[in-house]
């Protein structure tokens, strides 16, 4: 009898070998807290984690005092850094997409080689015609074909591409609550109740520089996502750049008056208003936008947002975009998820893939300042709060689960994993068996895919390798994160 975990175990071994190899150079030094090693001159500085790791009450007090308190303290800290390293390291623009609602990642990156992935468990929603990714085990939902094939983000035939998936990934917190799980990931913590009430992405940006251009941080959403909340960062929330505009009878006269109307008192409104008016002036200067020749963005909210981000990225230092956080929802499919050919999951995944493919193509334009494609300095990460339960429920849907998959794509990402595809695993594929006699530690846990890759390790690899995060700030961005070797999908930024 062929045991279902044998195939993944093979992949497991190879992946482990690769992870150690890839990690040996950069990541072990990077992960070392020793002040005398590698970037140790920076490591010797105590990261100002206490400053940002404030419990909520104190943070509110600080906010009411204004951003100056945080800013000065951070500047002191970073002044030392600057003296040692001459400014923060170069960084990609991060496009961080939160697929809210609990994406059914087992139907997005389908483990078709797992014998338990079958009609016995997923009679109506199962995806049995996925696009093979090259490892003989995983395939992509057919609706996402825009990302797979020659010249696309991942080419299984040549094994080349800049799209990587990390499967059996997710939060170490064992919660099936959307709102707790999202909150934990937004804040970059291990469990609910952690002291950090601000967002991990805000902490990362503020640890690089306490202040910056008005449009350094953008949220493509209807309200500020928690991952960008904190420390006077003042992210600009928009759907598209068209929102970054102000109606008045006379902009030249009215905008300075509005600025004065929001000065002279101590309140978070003051900083938000100043940033808003600065951002309006910047965006006004950009004019209209035409994507690269031959690129057409699809008609959906994600694509509209990405198109605006492409415009801002191409504006370069004039805008100074560092990170954009996109909320894209609707994945909570308890009922009527659909099939591989039709239905809500098919449609949403198609929107994600088509939008990202257009964004990637648009950014193949060459940037004059670097003589490289803009894409070379962009990294995209997609995450959801959890995967869905493996076994289909009675309504052709699936309830809340645990382990999921993350996607990483960008000019500095190498998709190819050890198994020959672009699906990366930490400690192998856990398997989908619920059998009583399965080996200890394998298979489902309470009906759900296990989490083996902590989402924070994936994000930290991106932050450290692509976003110019300093080892000294690791504990600020992801407090109490255990050390682990990098998986290797992110190339160190040069």
């Amino acid at each position: 009898m062929v045991r279902h975990w044998e195939a993944p175990m093979t992949i497991d071994t190879d992946l482990r070998a690769r992870a150690v190899t890839a990690g040996a150079g950069e990541s072990e030094a990077a992960e070392c807290d020793c002040p005398d090693d590698g970037p140790g001159a920076l490591g010797a500085l105590a990261p100002d984690s206490d400053l940002l790791a404030l419990e909520s009450g104190r943070r509110r007090v600080l906010k009411r005092l204004g951003v100056v308190t945080v800013g000065l303290a951070m500047a002191r800290s970073l002044g030392n850094v600057a003296a040692a390293a001459e400014g923060p390291p170069p960084a990609d623009v991060l496009v961080y997409i939160f697929l809210r609602g609990g994406l059914d990642s087992l139907n997005m990156v389908v483990p078709y080689g797992d014998p338990d992935y079958s009609a016995a468990n997923r009679p109506t929603i199962g995806v049995y015609d996925s696009i093979a990714l090259g490892d003989g085990f995983f395939g992509l939902h057919p609706a996402m074909s825009a990302l797979v094939g020659p010249g696309k983000a991942w080419d299984p035939t040549t094994g080349m591409g800049d799209l990587a998936f990390v499967h059996a990934a997710g939060s170490p917190a064992d919660t099936r609550s959307h709102f707790d799980a999202q909150d934990i990931i937004d804040r970059g913590v291990q469990a609910k109740g952690a002291a950090n009430r601000d967002g991990w992405l805000a902490r990362h940006l503020l640890s690089r520089a306490p202040t910056g251009p008005a449009l350094r941080a953008i949220a493509v959403s209807s309200s500020t996502p928690v991952n960008l909340i904190g420390g006077g960062l003042n992210p600009v929330v928009m759907h598209t750049t068209a929102d970054v505009s102000l109606r008045s009878v006379n902009a030249t006269q009215v905008e300075p008056l509005l600025r004065r109307m929001h000065q002279g008192f101590a309140h978070p409104m003051v900083g938000a208003s100043t940033t808003a008016l600065d951002a309006v002036a910047k965006v006004r200067g950009l004019g209209s936008y035409s994507p690269a020749i031959g690129v057409t963005y699809p008609a959906n909210g994600l694509a509209y947002g990405l198109k605006s981000l492409a415009q801002l990225i191409k504006a370069g230092a004039n805008i100074g975009l560092e990170a954009a956080s996109i909320d894209f929802g609707g994945f909570d499919m308890h009922k009527g998820m659909g099939t591989s050919a039709v239905g809500p999951l098919h449609d949403l995944l198609g929107q994600v893939a088509d939008s990202l493919a257009a964004f990637r193509s648009d950014l193949q334009d060459i940037e004059l300042a670097t003589a490289q494609p803009y894409w070379k300095r962009v990294t995209v990460v997609a995450v959801s709060e959890f995967g869905r339960r493996f076994k289909e429920n009675g309504n052709a849907g699936a309830d809340h689960g645990h382990g999921g998959a993350m996607a990483v794509m960008g000019g500095g990402i190498s998709g190819k994993a050890a198994g020959g595809g672009n699906v990366w695993l930490k400690d192998g594929w856990p398997g989908l068996s619920d059998a009583a006699d399965r080996p200890p530690g394998s298979g489902l846990v309470t009906g759900d895919l296990q989490v083996r890759a902590d989402y924070r390790h994936v994000l930290w690899e991106v932050a450290r390798q692509r976003l110019g995060a300093l080892d000294a700030n690791r504990a600020t961005v992801f407090p109490a994160l255990p050390l682990a070797p990098f998986m290797g999908f992110a190339q160190p930024k040069t």
Partner: protein, 545 residues
Amino acid sequence: VGVANGAVDLLAASPAAADVAAGLALSADPALHLLRRASFGPTPESLAKVRSMSAAAWIDEQLACDPNVDSDATWSTLAPGFPTISMTAQQVHLAYANNRSVPYRDIQAATAARQAYSVWQLREVMVEFWSNHFNIHNVDDPDIWCKSTDDREVIRTNALGKFSALLSASAHSPAMLGFLDNAWSVWNNPNENYARELLELHTLGADALYHRSGNSTDPATIAADALAAESDVANATRVLTGWSANFEWQGGLKPKYGDHLFHYRETSHHVGPVSVYGWSHANPTRDPASVAVGESLLDYLAHHDATARNIVTKLCKHFVADDPPSTLVDAALAVYQQTNTDIGQVVKAILTSPEFQAAAGSKWRRPVEYFHSMVRGMGLTYNAAAKTPTTVNNPLTPENEGSVGGASQGAQTMIDRLTDLDQNPFGWHTPDGYPYEPEAWTSPGGQLDRWNSAYLVVVGMKGFTTPTAQALAGGTARPQQAGPLVDALTMRVCGQTFGPAHRQVLLDWLGKAETAVVTDAELDAGSKGKQLLALILSSPYMQLR
């Protein structure tokens, strides 16, 4: 009752600048404060009314309103514009199956109109609170047909009554059973969507459900808590299997839709012992009497300490402070328990507490509160007769539609403005409802949204009559000099005058010295008066509450 004993008469306190935003001369006038929190914004009329009676008497009068009756003249002219809000769900479905945008728009617009115009403002505030707490995004089938029934019979009927009754009504509501999938949950393959949110959002709260041992750092305790939570979710799901509704027509001929009423499906019900968070039942039969098992669970949950804390904390955040004092939460919790979950009494205790009195200006207005405070402060009148152009018709995409030909223009305008602000009624997609955290709304983008909305309230409210600056300042009797003119306008619109630096901004826009005369012609030229009003509406005095 702790809060009542510590209550003070708000109106006896002397007005003083709120110290929330140092340097901002935000008035802490108790009547203004009460109306900023317990209504969708002060108007000259509501301020006069509160000042003519005690705060407690005003609250009592508001709490005593009929939940589903609007006696005011304004509403009687508006209501005919929203035909579906008084229909049964089946009637809505039969009449609008091919024109979904009508029921979708009607309930949103009727809600916004009542928020702006109802004299029963505290009721509308609580309807908004509970609609958000029991959020049902009304765009999908069958929720789109059932939402107005839910609004009438669940939310409005119980908004100021007993929480236990509200919870039970919600659990029996076809809109909720459809939105969170319980209607299709069956014993041998249950759907836990509703049961989880019932425990996590509607009653116990996430902390109590998932972390019943408190914030332990012991991994074994955390794991045991998580397992216990999943067991409770699974058991609550079993209890509620069979709680469904007749969405489909069972017969052969018309009407082709079911009655969309609550229906218990015996064959779907789980049989056998169930236990949820300290409650248990043998649950021996799938007989219709088994509905009583679910009702027993709901009643247990409504009265549980964890539910009480979850609900009153949320109320204290809504009415008093983003971090409400524990003394206030404890006092409100005691009222909840002593009054058998009486929402009105809890609200009254909160609004008459010393903690409330001390909190003037400490909260941001969320977009829905900001928008209506502008409409109310400006005294915009809604022209019930104005219709959208008949040439525009895009009924198949209710979420994205521009307007429906021949519909109420004012309704469409309000929905458009609230959509611009990202807080149109019932527009939040997930069951947690719109966020309350100030950080969610107070970004630079949020500022731009508010300022743009302010401008459009002055110049772009199709279907409304917008008064001019001259009229708002007193018409022919208005102050002629610039200084007194801006004081009259800020007093009319915001209920207070501005601090000197911000007052000077308004004078600078007029280009006038304090005592210089401002003529009507000058206010009309180049939309000077309109932009003046937009600046007032854009000010921090309007954005805080």
